[in-house]
Amino acid sequence: MTTDLTLDAPRAPHARTKRGINWEKWGWIYMRVSGVLLVVLIFGHLFVNLFLGDGVSQIDFAFVAGKLSDPFWQWYDFALLVLALVHGTNGMRTIVNDYVAKASVRRILHTALVASTAVLLVLGTLVLFTFDPCPAGADPELVASFCEDIL
């Protein structure tokens, strides 16, 4: 904060926000609940990927392809994807609310946040559930070497 900070007209008269879902409250609760879940999920993710088996050296295309062919890991990663993305987006939203005073700029940034999150959610979900390391009829030059046994 700069030292010459003064506000010309702080605190507009308090106006009751209209009834309905209290997003501010649920956003606050979501941050706490998803935070706790993420701690568990992220450390589980790190433990399985980096510690179990051959550790860090086991991670390659085949390892990821193998994990994503298992419905358990598909749903595990889906939970990680949704919880972390929405958690991050909500955090960015509060930062925008804290630092952007102009309503129009605020709206643009909020829209950009929602749009980018939606795109990432769709793309991530698509990859998680439709990923095929050895697509049928693909050029053998382009696919992974372990696909030879399958194709």
Binding site: M1, D4, L5, P10, P13, N22, E24, K25, G27, D98
Partner: protein
């Protein structure tokens, strides 16, 4: 003066020293921008920052403006930013500051600057009024409203507030646009929400369950650190959050 400084070796003696205070001055009729002005004052180790301001105003520059009433840490008039921290000038001893360096004194932040160390407190009091900081009860007891020691202890901490605005004007969320209720208003809501004699807790919880209410608190603890009364402000705000989630105090 020379003899006075020689007494430093004497144990328990009152020391005298020259202190430089740099005050952020602003006269809206003359200055376009606030500016820093320094003064050298002779101070004793028993003096407070308020005494330094008095010496400047009474002996050097009578145009210096600041608020102070009781001068004993209870009226809440002289909250100001001393060396970058919100404190009461009347409760800050000069000897507790680093007097080898100048002491910087400026008005509290986030409220409109009126003159020198005086800010417009109205936005602060406006949000205070909105939490309905008064006892609301439908019953009219014959003698007194009975309350157990435990019930009184529940909100004891937040009864200590003197409305000096040190907490609210140290809150980075309040600085952003000034729309947040601010720690002081929530502390004073807490004082009645958890009072067993009061019946309007639900109304106050509803007021604070808002976009500009308790959910904007980021628990940065600036308020707890700034409070000259030692109120655990962040804890009080968290208790109000919990009460809203429970739906009752």
């Amino acid at each position: 003066m020379a003899t006075a400084t020689d007494t430093t070796a004497e144990v328990g003696a009152v020391q005298e020293f020259t202190v430089t205070v740099i005050i952020r001055r602003f006269d809206p009729e003359k200055d376009a921008e606030p500016y820093w002005q320094d003064f050298d004052v002779q101070m004793y180790s028993t003096d407070r920052v308020l005494d330094a301001l008095h010496k400047v105003k009474w002996d050097q520059d009578g145009t210096l403006s600041f608020r102070r009433s009781c001068a004993h840490g209870i009226c809440g008039s002289d909250a100001m930013r001393i060396n970058g921290r919100n404190r009461l000038a009347c409760k800050t001893l000069i000897k507790d500051l680093d007097i080898t360096k100048p002491i910087y004194i400026e008005a509290i932040k986030g409220l409109p600057l009126e003159k020198d160390l005086i800010v417009d407190m109205e936005p602060f009091f406006a949000s205070y009024r909105q939490v309905q900081p008064f006892l609301q009860s439908s019953s009219k007891p014959e003698k007194e409203r009975i309350q157990s020691i435990e019930e009184r202890a529940r909100f004891d901490d937040t009864t200590k507030c003197i409305l000096c605005a040190a907490c609210t004007s140290s809150c980075p969320v309040f600085w952003t646009d000034g729309q947040y209720f601010g720690p002081a208003a929530i502390v004073n809501a807490h004082r009645f929400i958890f009072d067993s004699r009061d019946e309007a807790a639900q109304v106050r919880l509803d007021i604070l369950n808002d976009k500009e209410g308790v959910w904007r608190c980021r628990t940065t603890f600036n308020c707890s650190e700034a409070c000259p009364r030692g109120i655990e402000v962040t804890k009080a705000i968290s208790e109000v959050k919990q009460a809203i989630l429970r739906g009752r105090p």
